[in-house]
């Protein structure tokens, strides 16, 4: 190589080429991977979580509407056919009814026989005291707020019109009022203020006489105008669980620092206290307090070959990376010699979170499988750490002085499996994925969006107010 060649080579070699804008990895990677014909790097989970969250919320809204609407229609919707039920009548009441029946039969036999070809001469009115809780109405009206469950049958002289109506097998009977004074006796339940049944409908069995219903054809009830089925139930649960946590930095790189993500070791745990509101048999909303202890150990290394990073030596010692660049001569060619330095970090962070999660659950006899989504509001209670620097010195540092994001917001996805011990207690396992939306910056060069997973075991107690 002559002096001419050397001059030309020196002119190019000594030049630190600046990379133009638009050539970062994120911008170039799609094109490179396309040309390599390999699958593109998976995107971060943030968008996926948002979509899953929106999906669950939409599904929940739809399912809630669907089930509520369906149950309303099925049981109290307008002109819904009642299922056949049996109403237990006490012996004493039966006797009373039969006496009335006898009277009525006596009074009305001639008229009834003249107006109908069927044997309806044993028409009676009854006052049912004992009844099935699901006989007539929805919801089970323990508080009498729903449609009355029982029918007060009032003895009254049957008119020709009444009999005609009674003989129609699918007569619609309007429910327009009920007596709130009594939990069992409701007067004037129907428009006609009377419902007659055939005496032959009373059957005897071991538990007493029963009124086989319906006997005058299938009765149809109509929902009262002022009836509003409750949207939310009053069942709650409390739960406590604890478990392990695994986490990963979704590092935000500034182009100068790389964390050796493959040598990281970590052991973290979390404990939870939860309170949940059972909105519906399939839907619940829960919140609570979650204490997470993050611990990590990882190496920081620096790979950049072309930037003089000696300036980082002037930074605090716990900066992730330092590098020394020197040159040595090998013949006529200058060869860069780089020394990579590694700093090992030990971080400990304690975070308090308030999760709000909506879940849908599939109930089985003993098991319940659930999935849900929601959000966490988090606050960093404690952050501290140590590092072993390039000179192998142990350095304590308090990340509180450099941690710039103390409060944060996470997206949460969860799956759970409950094993019901009895009506009140259940054991459960709960798996959650949390993606922090805000960036945690612990030192001057690294900032991250932690992604962490928890797997917990706990116990749940259900109770109704």
């Amino acid at each position: 190589m002559d002096s001419f060649d050397k001059k030309m080579k020196d002119a190019f070699e000594a030049y630190d080429e600046q990379i133009p804008e638009g050539m970062s990895w994120d911008e170039m990677a799609p094109g490179i991977l396309d040309k390599m014909d390999v699958p593109k790097e998976k995107k971060r989970f943030t968008l996926l979580f948002v979509l899953i969250g929106i999906g669950f919320i939409s599904l929940g809204a739809f399912m809630t509407y669907h089930f509520m609407h369906e149950e309303g229609n099925k049981n109290v919707g307008p002109y819904t056919t009642l299922p056949e039920q049996q109403i237990t009548v006490s012996e004493q009441k039966l006797k009373s009814i039969e006496e009335k029946s006898t009277l009525e039969t006596t009074d009305n036999t001639e008229e009834l026989q003249s107006n109908t070809t069927t044997k309806t001469n044993n028409i009676v009115s009854i006052d049912v005291e004992s009844h099935s809780s699901t006989a007539y109405s929805y919801p089970a009206s323990k508080d009498q707020s729903g449609v009355a469950k029982i029918v007060h049958l009032e003895e009254q002289e049957t008119t020709a019109m009444d009999k005609e109506e009674l003989n129609q097998p699918h007569k619609v009977v309007e429910v327009n009022n009920y007596d709130k004074q009594s939990s069992h006796h409701v007067r004037g339940l129907f428009d006609h203020k009377r419902l007659s049944v055939q005496k032959t409908a009373f059957l005897n069995n071991q538990s007493g006489s029963q009124l086989a219903y319906p006997l005058v054809g299938k009765m149809l009830l109509k929902e009262p105008k002022d009836y509003n089925p409750p949207f939310l139930s009053k069942a709650f649960y409390i739960a406590f669980d604890a478990g392990l946590m695994f986490w990963d930095w979704n590092q935000t790189e500034d182009g100068t620092v790389s964390i050796d993500q493959y040598e990281r070791e970590q052991l973290s745990y979390n404990v939870n206290g939860r309170i949940g509101w059972q909105l519906h048999k399939n839907w619940s909303l829960e919140t609570g307090l979650q204490l997470k202890s993050f611990e990590s150990e990882f190496n920081g290394v620096f790979y950049d070959e072309y930037k003089d990073r000696t300036d980082t030596l002037e930074q605090p010692i716990y900066n992730v990376v330092t590098r020394v660049v020197s040159y040595e001569q090998q013949g006529e060619i200058e060869v860069d010699v780089f020394e990579k330095r590694t700093i090992r970090h030990f971080n400990a962070l304690v975070q308090l979170s308030v999760p709000v999660v909506a879940s849908f659950q599939w109930n089985r006899k003993k098991w319940a499988l659930s999935a849900g989504a929601g959000a966490n509001i988090s606050y960093m209670l404690l952050s501290k750490g140590r590092s072993i620097n390039a000179q192998e010195q142990l350095v304590e540092y308090n990340a509180n002085t450099t941690l710039r994001s103390f409060a944060g917001f996470d997206l949460v996805g969860r799956f759970g499996l409950d094993y019901k011990l009895n009506d009140s207690y259940a054991l459960y396992t709960d798996i959650r994925v949390n993606q922090a939306l805000n960036t945690w910056t612990i030192d001057s060069e690294m900032s991250r969006n932690p992604l962490h997973y928890t797997i917990n075991l706990g116990v749940k107690k259900r109770f109704a107010l």
Binding site: E17, G31, F338
Partner: protein, 186 residues
């Protein structure tokens, strides 16, 4: 220096390792691309081609046979040459009759040492493609005549003669540049 571990991860298709390798080597790759390809609009495309080739061919890289840097340099130069061929649609070699041979020039006379990098870049920009490619391959990227002859699929003698002419062409241009500068023309 690129760590073995990163290279091994790249071989396994680890895209995080791709990112690290890219960040570590893109200034070097870009400096090569910029030497060969003058059209700024083509830089991004050529750099992408170069990295696609590097990531694809990293499996055949043998640490025992040499450093990683020459390996990626060769790939990048080849990509650049392909790009030049594709866009020019003409042979890369410059015909000897295309340009007037410069007169014999004394190196001391030309004041070559006074030219800075920008001057040299400007001179190279005007250089015929054939001369420039061979000149860059040999002088800057240190490929031997034999390697260049393989890359360009020409004889070693052709490489040698083109190189000789390239140098003369540069010297002539340098003198013109120097004289213009001396007379305050620019």
């Amino acid at each position: 220096m690129i760590e073995k571990k990163i290279i091994n991860k790249c071989r396994k298709g680890d895209q995080r390792a791709f990112r690290e390798l890219y960040n570590a080597t893109v200034p070097y790759i870009f400096s090569i691309v910029k030497r060969y390809v003058f059209a700024e609009s083509d830089w991004k495309d050529v750099v992408q081609d170069a990295f696609a080739q590097i990531f694809t061919k990293i499996n055949v890289y043998d640490e025992n046979k040499g450093d990683f840097k020459p390996f990626i340099r060769k790939i990048t130069v080849n990509i650049c040459l392909m790009h030049i061929r594709k866009n020019k649609k003409t042979p890369l070699l410059t015909s000897m009759s295309d340009f007037e041979e410069p007169a014999s020039i004394d190196l001391d006379q030309m004041r070559f040492q006074n030219l800075n990098r920008t001057d040299i870049e400007n001179i190279l920009k005007d250089m015929p493609d054939g001369y420039r490619a061979i000149f860059l391959l040999h002088v800057i990227d240190e490929f031997t005549y034999e390697e260049i002859s393989e890359m360009l699929e020409i004889t070693k003698e052709t490489v040698r003669s083109q190189m000789f002419r390239a140098k003369k062409w540069i010297m002539k241009k340098s003198i013109i540049q120097y004289k213009k500068s001396s007379y305050g023309l620019f």
